[in-house]
Point group: C2
Chain length 326, copies 2
């Protein structure tokens, strides 16, 4: 069997996750990792060639799908439209407000050179988006709810670290169980994001810092914490390292509604992930398979999870899918 | 807006459900119900024209998608390949072992006249199949589990009614909560269907019947009950009518696995349905929209949920989907 030849552009948590995920898929191989850093300084979790991004062009015929593992804030908006001119791509772009413009730019660039660019792949956006579209279509009258967590929010953790006197911190977004239960009961409440979640902060303070002031500053921080039910726990660096070094995440998508004959229905999808980036990467790799197959069929342009029929994701043949999974 | 013109072939629980579901979708209208019975004898839940199946041909240009609402045992295998020669179709064929042959026959017939036939649509097969394929692709190493219930099994209820001295009966398939918890804990046990489910029977006995004998006959019935943990409750016809007249169902699809770096992941999809046929119908109607759009694009042949990109299901435009659901 000829394997699908993957490239990894950017080597942080996601890039490492793609290496791990590709290792679990017999039809995949990672040809090279590309970095803007000095390649000799990059230590990979599994053996693989590391190249400078300056050499991307040389790989145009050696890689079937390039997986973009940079961040949504600056990396992806710069890289995706350029990279899709050379390769089919998959990325995890998740800046929601900018999705329409990002789609248009990627679509135009991909069509220029006859490639496919899959964007906003992962679990949210990604599998959670799939739940929202399938649930909404399957049950026309109802309400859809997304809850995140329990999981680490990198942005909120960073915000705490900027408070004077804070040495280190980890913030968890936690769904409110009682509100989840209200949704499950079919009550169909109207809920804001802040009503659905609480924020738990684990903070390592510098020696002699004013803990009361730090706690107050965190809890009153606008946008990040002021509107939420926030708890602050001061712990030692050892405790933080021991108990909070992982990057778990997850969440719930629910849709509750009724038939025209008043029968109640509840649909629920949930994820519980020890490692947010490793799971995201695992989904990226599945969509790399889809992109490879779509490109073989002559498809070009940008796609999201909404545009990709599920058959393209599975390593099984279509008749095996029908036999084993239908 | 021009509505999608639906036909309903067969008017039992599913046909009624399709009428209810179409009423919740602004882009749909039901043109006619077709029956093998005397049309004047069919009382519909909402106003609609009722026609004899003998007049199906006259509607070839008046209906965009015919929804086949017959049973999998005899109706669908007879009807689907014939009907798809006249119309695009959607059906809920669920006899698992016969899916490959059914697909081939439908595919050949649909291609003959340039139609699309969507088969095995509903929640299992259907949405549960989608969970199985998406979960499997997203997490290459792991185990997938399907649990059914709590819900009414028509076949098992019928089997009880055939026992001498039984006047009426209702059987519920119930997932074993402790086994569900073992799966959720990441234990990845190997489980047979009977280890995952128990069977609860509510039985109305004829006056003077030997209850001990009835209970024994039920519990020892091969295939249906002998291998299961089965409980039998004798109740009155009034109690059965009052407490067990609904057709609820539901279930769970779970996948539990690990990354190559040993991070644990759990994916779970569940449904809780007051009415099994009404929810199935609601999914049939969503796929009628997809079939209509696929046919407009020139697609022909048989499709299952695996072949249909989610974008075809939603009433929203593609850019609205990206804005609101991605």
């Amino acid at each position: 069997m000829q394997k699908i030849r993957l490239g990894i552009l950017g080597y942080g948590n996601l890039g490492r996750g793609v290496q791990y995920a590709a290792a679990q898929n017999a039809d995949m191989e990672v040809v090279a990792v590309f970095t803007r850093r000095d390649p000799s300084a990059v230590k990979t979790v599994l053996p693989v060639k590391v190249e400078s991004t300056a050499r991307l062009k040389e790989y145009a015929d050696k890689i079937d799908v390039m997986i973009l593992c940079g961040g949504s804030a600056t990396d992806l908006p710069e890289q995706s439209a350029e990279t899709v001119k050379l390769f089919n791509t998959v990325d995890s772009f998740d800046t929601h407000a900018k999705i329409p413009a990002y789609f248009d730019a990627l679509d135009a660039a991909a069509k220029q050179t006859g490639h496919v660019g899959a964007m906003s792949i992962g679990w949210d956006p990604g599998l959670f988006s799939l739940a929202r579209i399938y649930f909404g279509a399957s049950l026309a009258e109802g309400s859809t709810y997304t809850f995140w967590g329990k999981g680490v929010s990198q942005g909120h953790s960073d915000a705490i670290r900027r408070v004077a006197g804070v040495k280190d911190a980890r913030q968890y977004t936690v769904p409110v169980e009682s509100v989840l239960e209200r949704v499950r009961s079919g009550e169909n409440p109207e809920l804001s994001t802040r009503e659905k979640h609480t924020r738990e902060c684990y903070v390592v303070a510098e020696e002699g810092a004013d803990l009361a002031r730090i706690e107050k500053e965190i809890k009153e921080m606008p946008n990040y914490f002021a509107d939420y039910d926030t708890t602050v726990h001061f712990i030692s660096q050892e405790e933080l390292n021991r108990d909070h070094s992982g990057i778990p995440h997850g969440g719930f998508v629910l849709r509750s509604g009724k038939s025209a004959a008043d029968s109640k229905f509840l649909m629920e999808f949930s994820l519980k992930l020890d490692s947010n980036p490793e799971f995201t990467s695992s989904v990226l790799v599945a969509y790399a398979r889809a992109v490879y197959r779509l490109a073989k069929e002559g498809k070009t342009g940008a796609v999201t999870v909404f545009d990709v029929a599920p058959k393209y994701l599975s390593p099984l043949s279509e008749s095996e899918q029908r036999k084993q999974l239908l």
